[in-house]
């Protein structure tokens, strides 16, 4: 293992050093992270980077291979546009975790803010705690798993993909154009594999799935009068 102290460094300097290190070192520990933004941008290859602290916005953006373990919190946009590799956040993330990710896995041990998995295309996003509103908004693929409560508007206008939830009140919080269905056997197996890999103790049979309501054209309500008509239509 090699240790890297990033005290006082800017993100570009840090990223340059990490890109150099990961060519030869497969286990890197980073200290004095001080909520740095843009940590490990566009990092390729394999290897593991463990951060003893929290990070700011855009952690692991465009990640393509390595595993990043953050022993703290991350800010907004964790794993934006990532295509491969793993980001494991031991505590919480800010909003918009995994936006437009096209592959790889994000595991959040704590809670995540609103709009996690926004526009996600593929990969896995697992939140062990609660999530805010509009989780999985306009996803085009991939798998989101939420073990805690979901916020309002979950799955709004999903085009494809699936959100597995345990929240018993999910029907009251659904976004437009989605529906709740039973989890399929194949999905259970996939979840079991993920949970085993990341040490998550949870019975997969209890999950339900949120999927696009109509596979194809969406209905949108732009004008939604709430008054009572004098004559019933």
């Amino acid at each position: 293992m090699v240790r890297l102290d990033i005290q006082g460094m800017g993100s570009r300097e840090v990223n340059r050093k990490i890109k150099e290190l990961i060519r030869t070192e497969k286990d890197i520990e980073v200290n004095n992270t001080h909520s740095i933004h843009n940590f490990a941008t566009a990092l390729k290859g394999d290897g593991k980077i463990t951060l003893n602290g929290s990070t700011g916005f855009y952690t692991g953006g465009f990640l393509e291979g390595p595993t990043i373990v953050i022993k703290g919190n991350t800010g907004w946009y964790t794993g934006d546009n990532m295509s491969a590799g793993e980001i494991i956040v031991e505590m919480n993330t800010g909003s918009n975790a995994g936006p437009s990710m096209v592959g790889g896995t994000i595991v959040v041990r704590g809670n995540s803010g609103s709009r996690c998995g926004w526009g996600m295309k593929n990969g896995n996003l697992i939140v062990c705690g609660n999530v805010g509103r509009w989780t999985g908004k306009m996803t085009l693929g991939g798998r989101i798993v939420v073990l805690g409560e979901v916020g309002e508007g979950v799955g709004e206008s999903m085009y494809d993909g699936v959100i597995h939830v345990l929240d018993p009140a999910v029907e009251d919080k659904l976004g437009g154009n989605v529906r709740v269905v039973s989890i399929e056997d194949g999905e259970k197996k996939a979840l079991e594999a993920l949970f085993n890999k990341y040490g998550i103790e949870q019975d997969v049979t209890a999950f339900r799935s949120i999927v696009p309501r109509v596979y194809g054209r969406h209905d949108y309500i732009i004008f939604n009068p709430t008054h009572k008509q004098r004559v019933d239509a």
Binding site: N96, W118, G119, K121
Partner: protein, 437 residues
């Protein structure tokens, strides 16, 4: 007078009711009302707005006579090479003409049309922009310089796209439907397009109106840092904004440390947009460009940041006047499609383009001859560049980019007030002046 003649004369004097002009109740307005009454929703249409706005035709260029010497049109040089993105990027975008091809997606356009446009850029030495939905390998293989867009939807987008780019363009909005998302109707989402964009087949796609990873100007600053990391600071990063609050938006973009700003006026085209959006949102290209130039000058960065303008650019005179008003380059979309055969029928959204341009129908796509279309687009850009050079030389310039606003005069009070360019035959401006006293 014969009775027959009297009858005829009387008929001529009485206007027929059906011929009476009805003010706002034009045929189009009536048709729109009937459509809404029947279906209860807004209409979607292609090509952008058909409305007439103040434009570059409302300006004239002052020729050189005794106050300055003209440059020989046919025998002396006038440089057209254009360098964009010099602010921070180590490898700026260098093109041979200030006319770029703007972002039009594979999906809105056929593969054949995209390849033809790409080949045209290789012939004349300019850039193409991939538009939404990913980068077609054939486009990259055939283009001279490739601009890659980073759109809110990130459909078909990956690190590979960035690695293939000569410049990046982060899209905040487009002129034809500012504040709205991309629309790609089901008729164009074929199996091939669905696979390319990683979309379900046959959906009506209303893509993301905001970036999922840029929720405000502060985030944009951080995002720009991230993109510099991703590109290692090599290639320019532009920001495209639809013309609206241009003065303020440009200043925010400057603070976010972009290399260039693309201003897309309301005349800009699109594959599909709500008619109400195209006709009513945004401001025209002409005053938008003036506001952008003013903002950059106000911040003292006009020479650092490239300014690209698009929306309704149709000929070399527009190019010359845009440069005189502060643009470093222009981007064309509709004009390039017309050069390939498009008739601006306003029905791009149907996907039934008989010319094989705005369609994914395999039969219709065969109607576009790639080589011929590429040659026509190249000819068009070449001719436009020639026209711009003719004007520049007549105004006494040995570089196209030496055109300046002092070379311009406004034809109309409206253009004068919008641009701050003095009214023709005077040195007076009505409204805020634009560098004149």
């Amino acid at each position: 007078m014969a009775s027959e003649d009297v009858k005829t004369k009387k008929k001529e004097k009485v206007p027929r009711v059906k011929d009476v002009q009805r003010g706002v109740w034009s045929k189009e307005a009536l048709e729109e009302i009937r459509y809404k009454a029947a279906v209860g929703k807004h209409r979607i249409r292609g090509c952008g707005t058909p409305q007439r706005f103040p434009n570059f035709d409302d300006l004239m260029v002052l020729p050189s006579q005794l106050t300055r010497m003209s440059i020989d049109t046919y025998r002396e040089d006038c440089k057209t090479q254009t360098v964009l993105g010099l602010r921070y990027a180590r490898k700026p975008l260098v093109i041979e003409t200030p006319i770029m091809i703007s972002g039009m997606s594979y999906g809105a356009l056929s593969k054949e049309a995209k390849i033809a446009l790409a080949r045209a850029t290789d012939i004349v030495g300019t850039s193409i922009n991939n538009g939404e939905g990913g980068l077609l390998p054939e486009e990259r293989d055939n283009s001279y310089k490739q601009v890659v867009q980073i759109l809110p939807s990130r459909i078909g987008f990956s690190l590979r796209n960035i690695e293939a780019a000569d410049a990046l363009e982060i899209i905040v909005g487009i002129g034809a439907k500012p504040g709205l998302s991309g629309h790609l109707m089901a008729s164009k989402i074929t199996k091939e397009i669905a696979a390319f964009r990683q979309l379900p087949e046959g959906i009506d796609l209303h893509s993301h109106p905001r970036h999922g990873d840029i929720f405000g100007a502060d985030d944009l600053c951080l995002k720009m840092e991230e993109m510099r990391d991703v590109t290692d600071g090599e290639i320019p990063i532009f920001l495209k904004i639809a013309a609206g609050r241009v003065w303020e938006d440009v200043k925010i973009a400057v603070k976010a440390e972009v290399d260039g700003i693309v201003i897309d006026g309301t005349e800009a085209g699109t594959g599909a947009a709500p008619v109400v959006a195209s006709n009513n949102l945004g401001i025209p290209t002409l005053p938008a460009l003036v506001q952008a130039t003013r903002a950059l000058e106000d911040m003292g960065v006009k020479e650092e940041i490239s300014l690209i303008v698009s929306g309704g650019i149709k000929d070399g005179a527009d190019v010359a006047k845009a440069i005189a008003l502060g643009a470093d380059a222009v981007a064309i979309g509709t004009g390039a499609m017309v050069a390939m055969g498009c008739t601006v029928c306003l029905r791009c959204q149907d996907g039934r383009c008989a010319f094989g341009i705005g369609t994914q129908d395999p039969k219709l796509r065969k109607n576009l001859d790639i080589e011929k279309a590429a040659r026509q687009v190249a000819n068009y850009i070449q001719a436009m560049t020639n026209e711009a050079v003719i004007i520049a030389k007549a105004a006494g310039k040995t570089k196209l980019h030496s055109l300046e606003r002092e070379d311009l005069r406004s034809m109309t009070l409206e253009a004068c007030a919008m641009t701050g360019i003095p009214l023709i035959g005077s040195n007076y401006t009505f409204g805020e002046q634009f560098g004149f006293c």
